[in-house]
């Protein structure tokens, strides 16, 4: 590599302590190579889901064919060959976990998920474990009974479901039964599956003029509450105005900020209401043309001042809603309040949606300093860093935030929050509500319209448009011999096996650990079933059942060979986030490294015992793992330097729900060199049709562009070591995009991408990429468009960082996680550390964490 540039001086990290064995940089396993190789492998072929094959990485774009086993899009396991015994599992040191994303978006090439309606009878369920009928059940007694693949129990087939079987004991109607052919199925379910109204609270958190409802809860189309903090901070930076404007586009469609035409994104039968709050709560009677504002100032005993009229059809009351959204920013700008009663507003929301459930989309700018759960100002953060009290920064300061979250989740209400604080707002407390209810946090500190609004709009659109359900219950079941032990994600756990979500959407994944209760038969598959009971946005009660059959391995080699690095990484990251409220960050970082070393050590002792101790052996399936893990150690929640607790807690919330693909792209950002893009890359294939051909689309004699076949450029490793001063690079961590422009860049390149040929006159406040009539501009726009669509339409914030000139370069450098930065080592040094840990164990026979020299290290 010639012309490579040194790390900029303003990044800081740790050097390796003591003598480091020489490692040849070219010999260092490249995470990019792993990602790129797998990506290319799945470009041409489909993934067939029957057990036994290698599974695509989460970062690869693949089309799966559901052969009765759920696709890795919905479920991944830390190893696709489950160790036969707990002994083997602990030898391998790979955690046994499953990660599910029940509502994941399908690839356009994939078949829709079948919807099965058994009417009043509901789906067939196992008489013992209550598992759902699935392709892995077997039929016995001439089809009179079915044998559960999970617990082995034989259940009588209901009269309505009975079918004769053929000589192979296959039901005659097998081919017509999606639930017997597909691993992922939606069952429409009857009243029996309706959510129950929660029992009345002994200490009611809100007051109602009506008696609490009891019994089963009629599923309704999703109700929405849009809630706005209208305090001074929300007004000052234009956040309130922007959010009101963007909400109008959500409700009624229109032109997006970057010029796209959008249709209305609410489900058709949904009803909405609007709530604002500062030092009091303000409800609006949208049914009346006067749109009266009803103020509830009783922040301790909150109640809803209206009934019936609260929720309205957004189409029928468009005039009133638009007028209100237009008026709000101005209305409160006149005499703005410094106070925010978010805690009480959440009780008002709870009271409003109790008995219905729904989704709350909330815009908050201020520390909630009044009302229920009021939080004191003046954080003492820096004093707590790296002390035993550090963990208190990472949990709610007032338990009422957890309580209201739990209560909201119990009522089937999800709370998503767009946070735009100007200063400390205690996301550790406030964000707990989103964590508990399955909602999502979006973070726009020191809101700036030019920088943030496009991203904000795309997030808001995504929040409403993505597939989601509310009033959700999730339960994992697994084969005899295995049992579920622990769950990680954003939900409320009402009992050891059931998870409650106010809402659950396409972008959320949940991790469940499992362990052996007895040894597994290596000649049989073992099974995991995840059932997600939910109400669709149009008001239908359904169960999405995800079925996975897995091979059982007796050999450590197989366990490692079929290990899933992405799932293991996700599982480690989740555990680390959960531990933030229990442990010092430095201890969490040490443990992560030890866990990584343990896997390498397990492989070495069980599969590569013959190799020399001077060699660091990394199993094939974990090749990119140390680099990813280093990215996690350098992430905002865990990094060893000063990061405000708001940023830590916001990012921790994200990591706790991100599916593997998004997590990996966030922790190990994607870096592209834009100055030497191949001429063909990122452009549609151009073709003309000479003679009419039924196999080829398009008119004869006209030039056609095939956007479906756009080839994406290869990524590069996250290090300055591979960069040149004459280059332009694009880094993307899912939330922000930075165009890094080298000081030796050619004027032509600048002109082609930014429309200016002068390095110095390139506007560092540019927060969008101009559309130019150049190949380079088209290529980069196509890359961004492609990534946006694989993110469900979400657009990151865009920055420009000129080398040695612009502040955004600091963030850029921090994202190059293979360099020595973020208060941590470089990738090479980190591998050396892992190697040393392993060697210590091998040579001295000590335990991994036991070595004082390692414990005492900056890890």
């Amino acid at each position: 590599m010639q012309n490579h540039i040194p790390q900029p001086p303003h990044t800081a990290g740790l050097g390796y302590q003591g003598l480091r064995p020489r490692i040849e940089p070219s010999q260092v396993p490249s995470p990019i190579e792993t990602i790129e190789t797998d990506r290319q492998a799945w470009e041409e072929k489909s993934y067939m889901t029957l057990p036994g094959a290698h599974v695509p990485l989460s970062t690869s774009e693949f089309a799966a064919v559901d052969q009765g086993n759920s696709s890795p899009r919905f479920i991944r396991v830390t190893t696709w060959n489950v160790p036969t015994s707990s002994r083997l599992a602990s030898d391998c040191a790979i955690p046994l976990s499953v990660i599910v994303q029940p509502f994941a978006d399908l690839d356009p090439r994939e078949e829709e998920i079948p919807v099965v309606d058994f009417g009043q009878n509901g789906p067939e369920r196992c008489g013992r474990c209550r598992g759902y009928v699935n392709p892995w059940c077997s039929w016995v007694a001439g089809g009179m009974r079915w044998r559960c693949n999970l617990c082995g129990h034989e259940t009588e087939v209901s009269t309505a479901y009975f079918s004769n079987v053929d000589a192979n004991m296959l039901r005659l109607d097998h081919a017509q039964r999606p639930e017997l052919n597909r691993g992922t199925v939606d069952f429409v379910v009857s009243e029996e599956y309706w959510a129950q109204h929660p029992p009345p609270n002994i200490n009611p958190s809100y007051f109602s003029a009506e008696l609490p409802l009891t019994g089963p809860k009629q599923p309704l189309p999703m109700n929405y509450i849009f809630a706005f903090d209208v305090s001074n901070d929300a007004i000052e930076r234009g956040f309130l105005k922007t959010s009101c404007d963007l909400l109008k586009t959500v409700l009624y469609g229109g032109t997006s900020l970057d010029g796209q035409q959008l249709d209305s994104s609410l489900p058709p039968a949904s009803q909405v209401t609007i709530l604002t709050y500062d030092r009091t709560l303000h409800f609006y009677d949208l049914n009346s043309d006067l749109t009266p504002m009803l103020v509830v100032a009783d922040l301790d005993e909150v109640f809803v001042p209206m009934r019936d009229r609260l929720f309205v059809d957004p189409v029928g009351r468009r005039h009133a809603i638009e007028a209100l959204l237009d008026a709000l920013p101005q209305r409160f700008a006149q005499y703005p309040s410094r106070d925010s009663s978010l805690g009480s507003a959440l009780r008002g929301i709870l009271a409003s949606l109790a008995g219905r459930g729904g989704h709350v989309i909330l815009f908050q700018s201020t520390l909630p300093n009044t009302g229920l759960g009021a939080l004191p100002n003046g954080s003492v953060e820096p004093e707590l860093y790296d002390t035993d009290k550090e963990k208190t920064l990472h949990k709610p300061r007032d338990v009422s935030w957890l309580d209201v979250g739990e209560e909201l989740a119990g009522e089937g209400i999800g709370v998503s929050m767009f946070l735009a604080p100007n200063k400390y707002m205690d996301i550790g407390s406030v964000g707990a509500v989103a964590n508990q209810t399955g909602g999502e946090l979006f973070f726009h500190p020191k809101f700036d319209f030019n920088r943030d609004a496009v991203a904000l709009e795309s997030q808001l659109q995504r929040v409403v448009r993505r597939y989601q359900g509310y009033n959700v219950k999730m339960k994992f079941r697994c084969s005899s011999g295995l049992r579920i032990t622990k769950h990680y994600g954003n939900f409320v756990q009402s009992d050891p096996t059931d998870l409650d979500f106010g809402i659950l959407d396409a972008d959320k994944a949940i991790v469940a650990d499992f362990e052996h209760s007895s040894s597994l038969n290596p000649r049989e598959y073992t099974h995991i079933q995840c059932a997600t009971l939910y109400t669709t946005v149009w008001g239908e009660r359904r169960v999405r059942v995800i079925n996975l059959a897995l091979q059982v391995a007796e050999m450590a080699g197989n366990v490692f060979q079929y290990a899933d690095m992405d799932a293991v990484f996700c599982r480690f990251a989740r555990e680390a986030m959960v531990n933030m409220s229990k442990q010092k960050l430095s201890a969490i970082r040490e443990e992560l490294t030890e866990k990584c070393s343990a896997i390498m050590l397990g492989y070495r002792t069980k599969c590569a015992a013959a190799s020399r101790t001077s060699q660091l052996i990394i199993p094939e399936a974990f090749k990119a793992f140390p680099a990813f893990l280093l990215g996690l150690l350098k992430s905002k929640p865990l990094k060893g330097r000063h990061v405000s607790s708001d940023v830590r807690n916001y990012t921790a919330h994200r990591i706790l729900s991100l599916p593997p693909r998004d997590l990996i792209h966030s922790m190990y950002p994607r870096l592209l060199a834009l100055h030497d893009l191949d001429e063909q890359v990122a452009l549609p294939q151009i073709y003309t049709v000479d003679t009419p051909d039924p196999g080829v689309e398009g008119e004869v004699g006209v030039v056609h562009y095939d956007y479906g076949q756009i080839q994406m450029p290869s990524l590069m490793r996250n290090s300055h070591f591979f960069m040149e001063v004459s280059g332009i690079y694009l880094v993307d961590n899912e939330e922000i995009l930075i165009f890094w422009v080298g000081s030796g860049v050619s004027p032509q390149l600048l002109q082609d991408l930014f429309g200016t040929d002068d390095f110095m006159s390139l506007d560092h406040r540019l927060h969008y990429l101009p559309r130019l009539q150049t190949t380079l501009s088209a290529q980069v726009h196509n890359i961004l468009t492609k990534r946006m669509s694989s993110r469900g339409g979400r657009k990151p914030k865009i920055f420009v960082a000129r080398q040695n000139h612009d502040a955004a370069e600091i963030e850029f450098s921090d994202m190059l996680v293979e360099d020595q930065n973020n208060g941590a080592m470089s990738y090479i040094d980190y591998l050396a550390l892992i190697h040393k840990q392993i060697t210590n164990v091998l040579n001295n026979g000590s335990a991994l964490g036991g070595s004082a020299s390692i414990r005492g290290s900056p890890w």
Binding site: A209, E210, F303, R331, Y335
Partner: protein, 591 residues
């Protein structure tokens, strides 16, 4: 000694005795208690304008210099007739002489009105408190009446609006951006401090001014809720017109939830914070009893009947004592601040007057009971409150500090009490002397041919077939046609030539009744009936049953046929009662 009727005419005061017993012992022996009826705001055309501050006795007495004071012209001293203190005249009284006395010392000005140089700092305040648990017709009539009343107010008068049903809403009329109200939960007892805080009336709740912005002048305090009618008439009318029934559902086995208590406590709290010690009226319009929250009269369960007098007497009225206590506390706060609470009930059933009576009673407010807000009795009574004098000033006085000063040997021992229903009792407290007497003993005028109309005994003997009677019970004005008169009238003699005297006879009581109707507040119920007709029971119920089944032994003779009508009642006759009084009174004097 002046004739006591002249004194009353002049000063609006009448004592039960015009000669005082000279000792306490003597006083205890009087059967008729010593008490005074006083009409402080009696209109006096003859009073001179007195444009200076009154001269007062030294504290704590502070009695005002008056014609009954002994004065020493030379020594420039006066002796207070109440406390017997000697006071020096202020320096600017140095020129007084026996021929040059200030108006307050002239014997004819025993009543005098000082026009104080201190300007009235605050215009009168009207806070309407409206029940929305009404049927549409009632609500509409009420809305209309209140809208009309706005036009009767002087433009500078401040108005405010509170509506209530399941919850209480305080309308922020000063909010220009939209219709805005503060909502209070009906079931909760709010402390005055809470109400203040919630309405943003306490000073620490001022909105933070933004840098470079002047302090918002109207963002807090009174000006948000109570505004000049000229400024908010349009907006207030708009709110009133869009006012709809309480939206919360009422099950068939339930009463509507009506949080009258919370509404009143918020009203009292609002006024006591914003306009303490200034003239303000809370006008409560209630369409039924309080069924929710503090001050509840009956629960909203229909299976629980509203308490009867019997329950109250037996001390078994469930919510009674708590409600009394609640409203009395409110009444005390209102009257301490000089705020009046008027009670308008538009309801066939009870509204809980017995519980709430302390509010109008101790604040000198009006009580108007009507079957519905859609009746003219309500509308006219309500609007009568806003009648003006010749100069267009409202005739109601505000924030009157009514100190009863008594001479040394006497002390005020309490309010007069009568065993009549609360509403009437209250009005006795407020009405002028004549009217009070009418209430206690109605007047009966008899009209017949060739004789001028004359008052007759309120007795069944006064009912004759050839007379027209005009009964004035204060609450009812009734014209009663004797049987013969009614027959003639039905045959239309009054329209025939030669019977002009009959026509005149018919018209005379009607004209007199109209005169009474005009003066009276609340508007009495006006009834015209015939002897033997069903409405005649109003007359019969007021008459002294001299011809009851008990009367034979009393008077020895039964009334002849046609001379009078027999009334069946257990009440003793007024004559018997008066005889008894006389005997006791004479006995007391001779003992």
């Amino acid at each position: 000694m002046l004739n006591f009727e002249d004194v009353e005419e002049r000063d609006g005061v009448r004592f039960s005795w015009n000669v005082w017993p000279s000792s306490r012992i003597e006083a205890t022996r009087t059967v008729v208690p010593i008490s005074a009826l006083y009409t402080p705001l009696k209109i006096r055309e003859d009073l001179p304008p007195v444009l200076y501050e009154p001269v007062a006795c030294k504290p704590p007495c502070r009695a005002i210099l008056n014609p009954y004071c002994q004065i020493d012209i030379r020594g420039k001293l006066w002796i207070c007739p109440f406390c017997l203190s000697r006071n020096t005249f202020p320096p600017h009284y140095k020129d007084i002489s026996n021929t040059n006395l200030p108006a307050e010392l002239l014997p004819k000005y025993t009543t005098i009105e000082y026009t104080l140089a201190r300007p009235a700092q605050v215009p009168p305040v009207f806070l309407f408190v409206i029940d929305t648990c009404l049927d549409e017709e009632d609500l509409k009539a009420l809305r209309d009446a209140i809208v009309i009343s706005l036009s009767l107010l002087p433009p500078y008068a401040l108005v405010g609006l509170i509506t209530f049903g399941t919850m209480t809403q305080v309308h922020e009329l000063g909010y220009a951006e939209c219709t805005k109200s503060y909502v209070f939960r009906g079931g909760k007892e709010y402390q005055p401090k809470q109400i203040q805080d919630m309405l943003g009336l306490s000073s620490q709740n001022r909105a933070a001014p933004r840098p470079g912005q002047p302090l918002p002048p109207q963002s807090f305090g009174a000006s948000r809720f109570l505004l000049p009618v000229s400024q908010v008439e349009f907006q207030l009318t708009g709110i009133l017109e869009s006012l709809s029934r309480d939206p919360w559902p009422v099950a068939t086995d339930k009463r509507a939830l009506r949080c009258t208590g919370v509404a009143l406590s918020v009203a009292v709290g609002l006024l006591e914070t914003t306009y303490p010690n200034t003239g303000a009226r809370i006008m409560l319009f209630a369409g039924g009893p309080a069924t929710e929250g503090p001050g509840m009269v009956v629960s909203n369960e229909l299976k629980e009947p509203i308490r009867s007098h019997h329950d109250i007497d037996r001390d078994s009225a469930k919510h009674y004592k708590r409600a009394i206590k609640f409203y009395e506390a409110l009444a005390k706060r209102a009257s301490n601040n000089g705020h009046v609470v008027d009670l308008f009930a538009g309801c066939l059933d009870q509204v809980g007057l017995q519980e709430m009576k302390s509010l109008p009673n101790s604040t000198n407010g009006a009580i108007v009971l009507s079957d519905s807000f859609a009746t003219s009795i309500f509308k006219q009574s309500f609007l009568r409150l806003f009648s003006k004098d010749d100069q267009g000033h409202l005739q109601m006085g505000f924030n009157a500090t009514f100190d009863v000063q008594t001479t040394k040997e006497l002390k005020v021992s309490g309010l007069i009490g009568h065993s009549i229903s609360a509403g009437k009792k209250h009005i006795v407290n407020e009405e002028d002397v004549n009217n009070s007497l009418i209430m206690i003993q109605p007047t009966l005028m008899s009209y017949t041919f060739d004789t001028p109309s004359q008052p007759v005994l309120l007795d069944s003997v006064s009912i004759k077939h050839d007379v027209i009677l005009l009964l004035d019970t204060f609450f009812h004005i009734l014209i009663f046609h004797g049987e013969l008169i009614a027959q003639w009238r039905k045959q239309g003699y009054q329209e025939q030539e030669g019977y002009e005297n009959f026509k005149e006879l018919l018209e005379l009581p009607v004209a007199d009744a109209q005169e009474l109707l005009v003066e009276r507040f609340p508007i009495p119920r006006y009834i015209v009936c015939d002897q033997g007709g069903s409405q005649a029971r109003f007359l019969l119920s007021k008459l002294n049953p001299s011809t009851t089944h008990m009367s034979a032994t009393m008077y020895g003779s039964t009334a002849g046929a046609g001379a009078g009508q027999a009334i069946f009642t257990d009440d003793v006759s007024l004559q018997v009662f008066m005889e008894h009084l006389k005997r006791l009174a004479v006995g007391a004097q001779t003992n």
